[in-house]
Symmetry: C2
Subunit: 212 residues, 2 copies
């Protein structure tokens, strides 16, 4: 008599591939999302498919930068699968509120923009509800949503060829720093006679005087 074996995953096709060439099954990628993002957010799972679509169409060996047009979830998909992070300057997040990302050759600006296309969500009602925010988030439905995203594969997304303007291709050079006469901290001298923090701070983050 043989022991019953565990049932294999229904679908072990890779969901996405990272820049090192590692393929992730859908379930493996969910675990990565939980670990980095804190929970298996549908937006990161969708974002990963978008990155995957763009990266597979980029000519091999091209050094690319990334733009996310939403600060929600997409930056984490980019950070999990590409060399671009929000701290190394290769990922730019611009909060336009559109569910789109672009990977582009950092020399020429030629790239691919992938977006979640509302017109393609009709056959996928849970995704549509989630995307349009017309129903309150329901925990009991989140499995259904994740399954639907999986089922849809690459059918939710549009792809466009784009060329990023030259002014976005050059890096801001490291600027010399000055000491701010108000806070005593260093800041890019080009920002003016005091640092942006001191100019904004009274109306910004902190409620009370900072205490050492």
């Amino acid at each position: 008599m043989t022991r019953p074996t565990e049932e294999p995953d229904i679908d072990t096709r890779p969901w996405c591939r990272d820049h090192r060439g590692r393929d992730y099954s859908f379930n493996d990628f969910l675990k990565q999302v939980e670990s980095f993002h804190g929970y298996s957010a549908p937006g990161v799972v969708i974002g990963a498919k978008m990155v995957d679509i763009a990266m597979k169409r980029m000519p091999s060996g091209v050094l690319f930068d990334a733009i996310c047009e939403s600060s929600k979830c997409l930056p984490d998909a980019v950070q999990l699968l590409t060399p671009c992070t929000s701290g190394n300057g290769w990922l730019r997040v611009v909060p336009l509120g559109r569910y789109a990302l672009t990977l582009y050759d950092k020399q020429t600006g030629q790239g691919l923009r992938v977006y979640l296309d509302p017109a393609r969500t009709d056959p996928f009602p849970e995704t549509r509800y989630w995307f349009f925010g017309v129903k309150p988030k329901r925990k009991d439905k989140s499995d259904l949503l994740i399954q639907e995203i999986h089922l849809a594969q690459d059918r939710l997304y549009g792809v466009q060829k784009v060329r990023v303007k030259p002014e976005f291709l050059s890096k801001e050079p490291s600027a010399p720093r000055a000491i701010c006469p108000e806070c005593g901290e260093a800041y890019p001298a080009g920002h003016g006679p005091t640092c942006r923090g001191c100019r904004l701070e009274a109306s910004y983050f902190f409620l009370q005087e900072k205490t050492k």
Copy 2:
């Protein structure tokens, strides 16, 4: 006759601890930085010590959010060591150009701000040169800089108690989306009659019409 063994690391004291309680030796953390950030950037190594200082002073069990006052390197230190990422909304990057980060209780706003203090860099010339950007980056000096950062331990940093204003504590609620009449993509309805992308795009990222 015994084979010569590899020389052990001179200093295996932990450089930093992540939010799961895992300690990283200095060399182990350098490897993490190379893997995530692309190269062992001094700014991420410094940022990790800053996160470590703040996190160790936070009351245990507090759910915290993070603010980085520079987009350079610091966000990656936060993302490597805390649950806060740029895609999950728990990390806010505000490009004030100051080398400072804050971790704060997301309920009360009470937190700790850690900054690289120019006044404390005097005994550490390589760090001072790097921080003030007064010398061009020299590859042959980067080992010396990394060693000096290691040697300095926590002596480069100032710590302040802060309280973040209530308006930064509440999350932006998910807004219903509308279809932009210009691009046909979805965007937060509250942004106006067309999406921010279409209002900005002519003068923004892309040089030419997007082609499908």
